[in-house]
Amino acid sequence: MNTITLKNVLPRVFSGRENELTSEIWLRDVEFQRGKKYLIEAASGTGKSSLLAFLIGYRHDYDGTICFDGRDISTLSTAEWVELRQRSLALLFQELRLFPELTAWENVEVKNSLTGFKDMNSVSRWFEAFGIADKKDVKIGKMSFGQQQRVAMIRALAQPFDFLLADEPISHLDESNSRVMAEIMQEEARAQGAGIIVTSIGKHMEMDYDFRIKM
């Protein structure tokens, strides 16, 4: 997948408030390109998580058209969405969506066994790089949110992708950890020629963004 385009898209929850919006995304024509890095700056309640939910096919309550490579995503079948989630769209959820009853390692393994994308060593290296190598066998439920955020990022990277979507990836990370995360994300995206879309409401992940969009 090379492009994600939004044409005149508006979440249904915003219907009737069109005039109050000063968004560079909603009700505009926007194009995200593979290989480029985007930062979406948003205040809370402006619908950034909604946007990611639309892009991953989790929610469909919007007006307008979203296309992947020109194909209207409202016409995608279940099988096509499954394929996209496995091969094209890597997403770090704001709410992480990890499995608390599994260990950190197992959480990554759930994804990696599905895609078969990374070997054990690569995954181990990420754990080390993120400074949570000692937490591999700890249950997610026993880890801090910041630690969980890093596990969720490793899981998101355990698949091939054309776009890496990260919803507030560093909300609970200190500066050095967020720098590590930015490096790993860029490294993986570069290796695959993929695009990165990062959202943020407060502190921004340091990266040489190609575009900064105000939501």
């Binding site: 991953i56 989790y58 279940t78 099988a79 499954v82 989630r85 496995q86 997403l91 959820f93 969506r97 990890l98 499995f99 009853e101 599994l102 197992e106 393994e109 759930v110 994804k111 066994s113 599905l114 895609t115 899981r155 698949q159």
Partner: protein
């Protein structure tokens, strides 16, 4: 890994409940089918000696007719009339012995003896090979066909109370029978041999040539009209036959009708039991579906997360589908094992009552079990998949 996630919240007690209920339901269904298959031949089987297309007719004996001394015999005209009917293929008369018969049997040192009588029908009404159904005066051995009920009376009533051995048909054929015939101032001593049992003829049957020989020697003068006729019809269920018999005031020895009633009764009872079994099966199916739904409900977030990270609905459904199918299969296997055991128990009892009974095949009941298994499993698989699809669309 997926399994480790998805087995969370599995309620063992609910599944044990389903398992028990399903097992009971399945077992009842299988046993009722198998029991029906095993028992029904007792009432319907063709005895191989007297074909089912033969009917036996007699005249009605009423209180008035016996007081008035009315003849209950068939005249030549009666016989000709029957022969002329559309449904009749051939007619034969029963010839009764006109002399005294005393027969005795020796079983294990004990000897039973009784006065009795013989009857014969034309040989072509008896489906047995001509060489054995034949009397040779120099051989002095009489082949005999006994009513099957005699053996049942002996085995079930007498032998049990006297702690005598039960006899199979084959064994009875090997027991020598002494026969003493007397009449016309003469006496004949012969050997009798039981060559078969009939559930259709309620008489002690001997070959026609023996009857001619013995009647001519021991009762040369008497010649009485027959009281019973045997007719072969084209179709025993033809309504015209019943109408004709009714009009003429004849009576049909209707073991078939009796068997028909019993069969009907058995069918109803089996049907009811089968329905109860199926009902329990259906209820157990609901228990399973409820447990699985509850399980899916409790694991909704996990399932949703798996779907969001790229698992397909089919993949996420599979562990639950395998779980239910495995349980159904286990139920089927245990039910068939129990069926075999229970059947061996009741077959022993049946054999003691009806030694001639043939073991029916297990095919129908086992196939029914497999059919229930397949059907329930398919429903389970579809229901689980639909549920997961609903989670995919995040509709509860």
């Amino acid at each position: 890994m997926i399994w480790k996630l998805l087995r969370q919240h599995i309620s063992v007690s609910q599944f044990v409940g389903f398992f028990t209920a399903n097992l009971v339901g399945m077992l009842i269904v299988l046993i009722s089918i198998q029991f029906y298959r095993d028992v029904i031949p007792v009432f319907t089987e063709d005895d191989g000696l007297i074909s089912r297309t033969y009917l036996i007719l007699s005249k009605k004996i009423t209180a008035v007719s016996s007081l008035m001394g009315e003849a209950n015999t068939f005249s030549e005209n009666d016989i000709e009339d029957i022969r002329a009917q559309r449904f009749t293929r051939k007619v034969g008369v029963f010839t009764a012995s006109q002399y005294k018969v005393y027969a005795s049997l020796g079983v294990g040192g004990l000897s039973f003896g009784t006065d009795m009588f013989f009857e014969s029908v034309p040989s072509d009404f008896v489906d047995t090979d001509a060489s054995s159904w034949h009397f040779n005066p120099s051989g002095r051995e009489v082949p005999i066909i006994l009513p099957r009920s005699y053996l049942a009376i002996y085995n079930f009533g007498f032998a049990q109370s006297q702690s005598l051995p039960r006899l199979t048909e084959g064994v009875v054929g090997m027991i020598p029978m002494d026969i003493r015939l007397s009449g016309n101032g003469q006496e004949e001593r012969l050997k009798g041999r039981v060559i078969g049992f009939s559930s259709r003829l309620n008489t002690i049957l001997v070959p026609e040539d023996f009857m001619e020989w013995s009647n001519s020697r021991l009762a040369p003068d008497s010649d009485t009209a027959p009281t019973r006729l045997i007719i072969e019809v084209t179709n025993p269920t033809d309504h015209d036959i019943a109408r004709y018999i009714g009009e003429r005031g004849y009576e049909m020895e209707n073991d078939q009708l009796e068997a028909g009633r019993l069969t009907y009764f058995l069918k109803i009872v089996t049907g009811i039991v089968l329905a109860i079994g199926l009902l329990i099966s259906i209820l157990s199916f609901y228990i399973l579906m409820l447990s699985v739904y509850l399980l899916l409900q409790k694991n909704t977030t996990k399932l949703e997360n798996l779907l969001l990270i790229g698992y397909s609905p089919a993949r996420v459904s599979r562990p639950y589908q395998l779980l239910t199918v495995a349980m159904n299969l286990l139920v089927l296997v245990i039910a068939i094992a129990l069926l075999l055991w229970i059947r061996s128990q009741y077959m022993n009892l049946l054999w003691s009552m009806f030694p001639q009974i043939q073991e029916a095949s297990l095919f129908t009941s086992v196939m029914s079990g497999c059919a229930i298994f397949t059907l329930v499993s398919i429903f389970n698989i579809i229901a689980i998949r639909r549920r997961v699809n609903a989670i995919w669309r995040h509709k509860e």
